[in-house]
C-alpha cells in the first residue's frame, strides 16, 4: 500500500511538475510570440543590426503582396519603426515607435485586447499614440495627455511631434511594455518621410521597416519561412526562434526539463521503493524462510520479490497517470492564478495565470521510467531476501 501510494504520488508529481514547467515555458513563448514577436518577421538585412530608419524595405507594398498571397499565412502587419525619445512634463525616456495599421496589427497580435484604459488606435484623429500602463506611470501621463516624440527622419533631420495618448496597454511583459509605443503608420511615415521622399525611392506613405506575420499552424512556421525566403531574395525572413534565440532555447528545454524532473522524482522513488520493499521482506522473513525450507530456490525467491515490486508499480502506474492527467486537464482549462506574484512574473515576461501543458510523450516517459525504477528498486530487497538463511529466518520473531 505504501509503495503504491509512493508511486502514485511520484507519478502525479512528475506529470504535474512537468506540466507546470511546460506550461510556464509555453506561456512565455506564446506571450512573446503573440504580443511581441509574431511568428515570422521580414526586414532589410541591416535593419536588425542598426535599427536605423534608413534600412527600410524596398518596395514594401510588393513585399506585402507576396506575403499575403502565400498559403498558410493568417495575418500580416506592415510596420514603420523608429527609435525616439518620448517626453512629458515629468521626464523623457528612450523608446521605439511602432507605426502600425491598427486593423492589421490587431490581426497579428493581441495589442487591441491588451488596451487596459482608453481606446485602441483608430482611423480617426491625427497623431494618436498608445503607451503602456508602466510607461505612463513613469512619465506621469494619463489617457488624453500629450507627449512629444523626437526622432530622426529619413533625411537625417531631427523631427519632433506632439501625440495624444488614446489608450494604455499592458502585455504582461514589463521590459517590452516600457520599451515600445504604438502610433498609426501613416502618422509616423508622414513625419519620417521628407517632403522630397521620391529621392529615397519610397512612394509617399509606403515606408515600412518590418512586416510581421502569423501563420495558421505554428508547426508550419519553418516551412512558410523557407518559401518566403525563396520568394523574397535579399530580405531577412526570420522565425520567432531566430528573432529571439531565448525562445528557441526555452522551447528546446521543455523536453529536458521534464526529463530532469522525472529523473529527480524517480530517484527519490527508487529509495522509497527500496525502503518499503525491504520492510516487506523483513516483515516476511519467516515466510521467506519457510518458502526456502520447503524448497523454493533462491532464483525463484529473487524473481518473486522483483515481480511483487513490479506488480505494485503496475498497479500504481495507471492511478498516478490518471491523477496526473486529470490535474493537467483541469489546470489546462482553469489555470493556476499566481496573481500575487504577477509583478515578478511579468518582469520575466510570464503571465500571472499559468496553464499546465504537457507533451503526450511525457506520459510514456513516466510510464517507462516508473517501470524501470520498480525493477531497479526491487533488486536490493530481492538480493537481501536470497541472502537470508532459512534456518535463521525461521527463528526470527
Amino acid at each position: 500500500m505504501v509503495v503504491i501510494s509512493a508511486v502514485v504520488i511520484g507519478i502525479w508529481a512528475a506529470i504535474s511538475l512537468s506540466g507546470f514547467a511546460t506550461g510556464m515555458i509555453k506561456s512565455y513563448v506564446n506571450n512573446a510570440v503573440q504580443n511581441i514577436i509574431s511568428h515570422i518577421q521580414v526586414h532589410q538585412p541591416e535593419f536588425l543590426e542598426e535599427y536605423d530608419v534608413e534600412y527600410y524595405l524596398p518596395d514594401a507594398p510588393a513585399v506585402e503582396q507576396v506575403i499575403r498571397s502565400e498559403p498558410g499565412v493568417k495575418a500580416v502587419s506592415v510596420r514603420s519603426l523608429s527609435s525616439a525619445m518620448i517626453s512629458s512634463a515629468k521626464g523623457a525616456r528612450g523608446v521605439r515607435i511602432k507605426g502600425i495599421v491598427p486593423e492589421d496589427e490587431a490581426q497579428v497580435n493581441a495589442l487591441n485586447e491588451n488596451v487596459k484604459e482608453g481606446e485602441y488606435l483608430s482611423a480617426e484623429g491625427k497623431n494618436a499614440i498608445l503607451v503602456s500602463v508602466d510607461l505612463a506611470k513613469k512619465l506621469n501621463v494619463k489617457v488624453r495627455s500629450k507627449v512629444v516624440l523626437t526622432f530622426q527622419g529619413l533625411d537625417g533631420e531631427i523631427t519632433a511631434a506632439a501625440f495624444r495618448i488614446v489608450g494604455l496597454f499592458d502585455t504582461g511583459n514589463n521590459p517590452f511594455d516600457e520599451a515600445y509605443v504604438f502610433v498609426r503608420r501613416e502618422d509616423l511615415n508622414r513625419l519620417l518621410e521628407p517632403t522630397d521622399g521620391h529621392k529615397y525611392g519610397v512612394a509617399p506613405g509606403a515606408l515600412a521597416h518590418e512586416i510581421a506575420l502569423m501563420v495558421d499552424d505554428v508547426r508550419s512556421v519553418d516551412a512558410v519561412a523557407a518559401r518566403l525566403r525563396e520568394k523574397l531574395p535579399g530580405l531577412d525572413v526570420e522565425t520567432y526562434r531566430q528573432l529571439s534565440p531565448d525562445l528557441d532555447l526555452y522551447e528546446g528545454q521543455m523536453t529536458s526539463i521534464s526529463i530532469l524532473y522525472l529523473t529527480i522524482i524517480l530517484l527519490a522513488l527508487v529509495f522509497g521503493i527500496i525502503n518499503t520493499m525491504l520492510m516487506a521482506v523483513l516483515e516476511r522473513i519467516k515466510e521467506l524462510g519457510m518458502l526456502m525450507a520447503i524448497g523454493m530456490n533462491k532464483f525463484r525467491v529473487f524473481i518473486m520479490i522483483v515481480f511483487e515490486t513490479i506488480l505494485l508499480g503496475l498497479v500504481a502506474m495507471p492511478i498516478g497517470l490518471l491523477l496526473g492527467y486529470l490535474t493537467i486537464s483541469y489546470v489546462q482549462s482553469h489555470g493556476i492564478d499566481l496573481s500575487t506574484y504577477a509583478n515578478a512574473l511579468e518582469d520575466y515576461g510570464l503571465s500571472a495565470v499559468i496553464y499546465f501543458e504537457i507533451e503526450p510523450v511525457v506520459y510514456w516517459q513516466v510510464a517507462v521510467g516508473v517501470f524501470l525504477t520498480a525493477i531497479l528498486a526491487s533488486i536490493y530487497p530481492a538480493w537481501k531476501a536470497i541472502k537470508l538463511r532459512p534456518v535463521e529466518a525461521l527463528h526470527k520473531i
Binding site: 519467516k286 515466510e287 524462510g289 519457510m290 518458502l291 526456502m292 525450507a293 520447503i294 524448497g295 523454493m296 530456490n297 533462491k298 532464483f299 525463484r300 538463511r389 532459512p390 534456518v391 525461521l394 527463528h395
Partner: protein
C-alpha cells in the same frame, strides 16, 4: 532403504566471537519408518540437530548423509532442491502462507516441483482428507484453529512424498485434544505409508507415543532408547 546417518557432527555458532557449541559430536542412524523423538532440555541442541539432518543448516564438522546423499557437498540451490524432493518440514509456528487457502498451501510445494495441475489438486485433497480437514480445504489459515493449521502443515510436508518428515516442536502450541489428534494422524501415516517421522519435542504426550527416544544433553547423545 532411506537412512539418515550423522558421524561426529558438531555445530558451533559464533565461532569467532563467543563460540557456542550447539552440537558436540553426534553420531546417529535413523532408519526408514522410524517414529522418533529427540528430547532434551532447552539449549541441548534438539532444533540444531533437526536443522542439520534436514539440510537447513550445515554442520561445522562431521558428516551428514541423507538417504545416500552427502549434503555437505551440495551447493545452496542443490540443497534447496534436495529438501524439496526428500524432506518435509513441520514447524512449531505452522508457518502457512496466510493469503493462501489450506488446499493452496498444500499444493504450493507441488507447484514448486512442477507437478501437473490435476495431480496437485487430487493429492492436496487426498492429504487434507487424511489429516481430517476435508471440510476446511478452502479456508485460510486465519480461519483455522492452531491444531487445524498444524494439520495443514503436515499435509503440506507430505505433499511432495518426502522420505522424512522433520517436525520441530509440532505440538508446542496445541491443546491436548489437538495434540492427540495430530499424533494419531502422524502415527497412522507412519504405519500405513512407512514415512519416517523425527520430532524435536519437550512434550511428554509426544514422547509417550514415540517408538524411539533420543535424549540430547549439551549437544551430545545422552541416551538412545528404542521401545518395543
Amino acid at each position: 532403504m532411506k537412512v539418515i546417518t550423522t558421524i561426529g557432527v558438531t555445530k558451533v555458532y559464533n565461532p569467532d566471537k563467543i563460540p557456542v557449541r550447539a552440537l558436540n559430536g553426534v553420531d546417529l542412524r535413523i532408519e526408514q519408518g522410524e517414529f522418533t523423538a529427540i528430547v532434551g532440555p532447552s539449549g541441548s541442541g534438539k532444533t540444531t540437530l533437526l536443522n542439520v539432518i534436514g539440510g537447513l543448516d550445515r554442520p561445522t564438522s562431521g558428516d551428514v548423509d541423507i538417504g545416500g546423499a552427502d549434503i555437505d557437498a551440495m551447493s545452496d540451490n542443490k540443497l534447496i532442491d534436495f529438501r524439496k524432493q526428500h524432506i518435509g518440514f513441520v514447524f512449531q509456528a505452522y508457518n502457512l502462507i496466510p493469503v493462501l487457502t489450506a488446499r493452496e498451501n498444500v499444493e504450493f510445494v507441488m507447484l514448486l516441483q512442477k507437478r501437473p495441475k490435476q495431480e496437485r489438486h487430487d493429492r492436496a485433497e487426498e492429504l487434507l482428507r487424511a489429516v481430517g480437514l476435508a471440510d476446511k480445504m478452502d479456508k485460510r489459515p486465519s480461519e483455522l484453529s492452531g491444531g487445524q493449521q498444524q494439520r495443514v502443515a503436515i499435509a503440506r510436508a507430505l505433499a511432495p512424498k518426502p522420505d522424512f518428515i522433520l517436525a520441530d516442536e509440532p505440538t508446542a502450541n496445541l491443546d491436548s485434544v489437538s495434540t492427540a489428534n495430530l499424533l494419531d494422524i502422524m502415527a497412522r501415516l507412519n504405519k500405513e505409508e512407512n514415512i519416517t517421522f523425527v520430532f524435536s519435542t519437550h512434550d511428554q504426550r509426544v514422547i509417550d507415543r514415540a517408538r524411539r527416544v533420543i535424549t540430547l544433553v549439551d549437544g551430545k547423545v545422552a541416551s538412545d532408547e528404542v521401545r518395543g
